[in-house]
Amino acid sequence: MSPLKIKKGSTSHSAYNLRPTFSDTQERHTLAVLVENEPGVLARVIGLFSGRGYNIESLTVAEVDHTGHTSRITIVTTGTPQVINQITAQLGRIVSVHEVHDLTVEGRSVERELALFKVTGRGEDRVEALRLADVFRANVVDSTLESFVFEITGTPEKIDAFADLMRPIGLVEMARTGVAALSRGAA
């Protein structure tokens, strides 16, 4: 996929409207950003997104190399190809950023998110909740006579689907981790 497909000579609404000369299709990309785990590094990354008006759909971060003090930030963002390109370039120039990978363009990748769902109810609803959890391979990690907490991992779409089904049954609260992603294969 070439992020540089540009419509030449398209009209703009404002002289400063930079985007229309570039393609204006919105894309969703998952970025893996390896950073020095030092104080303030997350603020630098988030500040870049807010300061330059980029979107964050989800962001996860944790140290992945305790001896080398590197953390991995996974960001899901949306934008035109030109904006996505800018985001990777701008991330790349942060001094504490070691590597930026656009997993969406670099080949196939796996994406997983973990979520906890609290579902309350009695009688038939409880049975139905357990049946759906089984279909989605969600585990029960807490239960009372009136409630369950389910743990589910999967793609964000799978979690959305699970939530849509659980909502009428009695979904009252949910916590999601955001996406963690890795490229497929040996590379």
Binding site: T11, S12, A15, T21, F22, N85, A89, G92, R93, S96
Partner: protein, 583 residues
């Protein structure tokens, strides 16, 4: 490894980094460092009168030497006063290191006296910053700070040092022991370079569009640029930030481009078939209306910062690398392929350019009664042109644009101006920094009276250190650039654009123990300028100029390069509602 206090480490690290001047202002949180400065001679500390002045002075020092400029300020208000200078340096890619004192580590977060979240506040206006919490890490951090400031795309960095870290003892590390993963690539990919050379061989209407990146890359880059321009015979224009990289006296020189650039430069940009951007960033002062920007050209872009490429304008031939390295490779490849250009096409391209030159876009209506600002700068230029050690700084406004238009720069690093942020109050402290770096040189700050007042307290610094900086104030008693926009865009309603209650600048100079010169008559101008030049000391030159002169040419906001205004007659109703929301 030598053991020493953090405060001593700061001084030692500065020496090891080759620093000879530090601009600063003391306060409680940096007293240990000031104590160390007091007890040595290698580093000269210049006491400014406001921390903003310290940072701009460090910028002037850096831009005029190619070295890293250094400022030292205290915590809290000292740090917040440095923010404008940091932002200015970030926008203009100026390498500086700013040291701030901080409250002791055990008091951070307690709203302690003069505590500010300095790294938080300055994160978006530095290239990088550090809060150093351990003395053992201090020396390494300082060396890395210098490395980051000057490597890749240069910029300002800040090191925040809590007071207890300054007092404590730790191990000193030398610059050679410094390890940093930050190593931006300087060599351009050969594919792009070959593509560009192939495009150059075929181009019928090429133009070099050069910028501050050439200056950032160092004097060797300017030398290579000159060689490339002479060898190819292509016309060259530059942004405000790149003036001097190619000499203004060169016959391929089209003058500055952009909003207040020359007609021939902007027309060449609009009509070219190959645009070769070397270290410029397609700023909105250059492009005007994006969708009408040079519609028929193939565009090559050489820039060390990948984020500059395709940020604003789509590039056909991107080359990420350092200007000097890339130009060297371009020359090699171009020569190896037989030094080809389309000479016939170039001759007719030059014929068109010469036609545009005949428009004489900088002409203005002379006056025998009042000093026209353009005339004042023509005379300043004529009377100082032959001094190769002439450095020009500016403030921000009309005078800045006239200085860019009417003064000729022959060498890089001799022109200091605030381009990206457009900081009024930049020029005077910058001139102090330049003069300190070049004690024998002629340093002139071309100023507007309003801008100059913003950092006029630095007169104290100039006098204290006997810095013979010449403050050449084009005094129109107006916030001239604002007034011009109000005339063109806001129905001549001059809302708050008057400089009222101005000081008597001659008396002001005298009050500081400097020399003041007032000039009101064009007939006296040459003598007055010569008096300024021969005076061995700081001078405030109050040049009363025409009050309502407009700066032309001008590409109105929201217009294309070929819709340029050349003079007063064309200004009625030219900026539409869409254009007027732009700045």
């Amino acid at each position: 490894m030598a053991q020493m206090t953090g405060a001593k480490m700061v001084v030692q690290a500065l020496k090891d980094q080759g620093v000879d001047v530090v601009f600063g202002y003391p306060g409680g949180a940096v007293l240990p460092i000031y104590d160390e400065i007091f007890q040595q001679n290698g580093i000269r500390h210049i006491l400014v009168r406001h921390e903003q002045g310290a940072v701009h002075a460090a910028e002037g020092y850096a831009r005029s030497t190619g070295k890293v400029g250094v400022a030292l300020v205290t915590s809290g208000p000292g740090a917040t006063n440095a923010v404008t200078g940091l932002t200015d340096a970030l926008m203009d890619s100026i390498p500086i290191v700013v040291f701030t004192g901080q409250v002791p580590t055990f008091m951070i977060g307690s709203d302690a006296f003069q505590e500010a979240d300095t790294v938080g506040i300055t994160r978006p206006c530095t290239k990088h910053n550090w809060l150093v919490k351990e003395t053992d890490a201090l020396a390494h951090t300082i060396h890395e700070a210098f490395h980051v400031a000057r490597s890749g795309r240069p910029g300002p960095v800040l090191v925040d040092i809590p007071k207890d870290v300054q007092f404590a003892t730790g191990a000193y590390t030398t610059p050679r022991q410094m390890k940093s993963h930050y190593q931006p690539a300087v060599k351009g990919a050969i594919e792009g370079i070959t593509d560009l050379v192939a495009a150059m061989e075929k181009a019928k209407k090429p133009v070099f569009y050069t910028g501050g990146g050439v200056i950032n890359s160092g004097p060797a880059a300017s030398q290579l640029l000159r060689e490339l321009v002479e060898a190819t015979g292509f016309p060259i224009t530059s942004t405000l930030m790149g003036l001097g990289a190619y000499p203004a006296s060169g016959d391929k020189w089209l003058g500055m481009l952009g909003m207040h650039g020359l007609y021939e430069a902007n027309m060449a940009m609009h009509d070219c078939d190959l645009m070769i951007n070397i270290g410029a960033r397609f700023d909105d002062r250059i492009t005007g209306r994006i969708d009408a920007f040079s519609p028929k050209s193939k565009k090559a872009h050489i820039d060390i910062d990948p984020s500059s490429i395709n940020k604003v304008i789509q590039t056909d031939i991107p080359i990420v690398g350092d200007v000097g390295h890339v130009l060297e490779d371009i020359l090699k490849v171009w020569k190896a392929r037989g030094r080809k250009t389309d000479k016939e096409a170039l001759a007719s391209w030059w014929a068109r350019i010469d036609g545009w030159r005949k428009v004489d876009c900088l002409s203005y209506t002379p006056s025998e009664k009042t000093i026209k600002p353009q005339y004042a700068l023509e005379r300043l230029e004529a009377l100082t042109r032959d001094r190769t050690d002439r450095f020009i700084c500016t403030e921000v406004g009309q005078h800045q644009m006239w200085a860019a238009q009417f003064m000729g720069f022959e060498e890089p690093n001799h022109w200091m101006t605030s381009g990206g942020l457009g900081t009024m109050g930049y020029g005077f402290p910058a001139s102090i920094g330049v003069q300190l770096a070049h004690p024998e040189a002629l340093v002139i700050n071309v100023a507007g009276e309003a801008s100059w007042l913003m950092n006029m307290q630095e007169m104290g610094t100039a006098v204290q250190y006997r810095l013979p900086v010449k403050q050449f104030i084009l005094n129109n008693e107006r916030l001239g650039m604002v007034r011009q926009w109000q005339e063109l865009l806001h129905g001549e309603r001059y809302s708050s654009s008057w400089s009222e209650a101005l000081p008597d600048f001659v008396k002001l100079a005298e009050a500081f123990g400097a020399k003041g010169i007032l000039c009101t008559d064009p007939a006296d101008l040459d003598d007055a300028i010569l008096e300024m030049l021969t005076h061995d000391g700081p001078v405030i030159f109050d040049c009363l100029v025409e009050k309502h002169e407009n700066c032309f040419p001008m590409i109105p906001s929201g217009k294309a390069h070929n819709e340029m205004l050349l003079g007063a007659a064309e200004t009625q109703g030219v900026i539409d509602a869409k254009g007027s929301v732009l700045v």
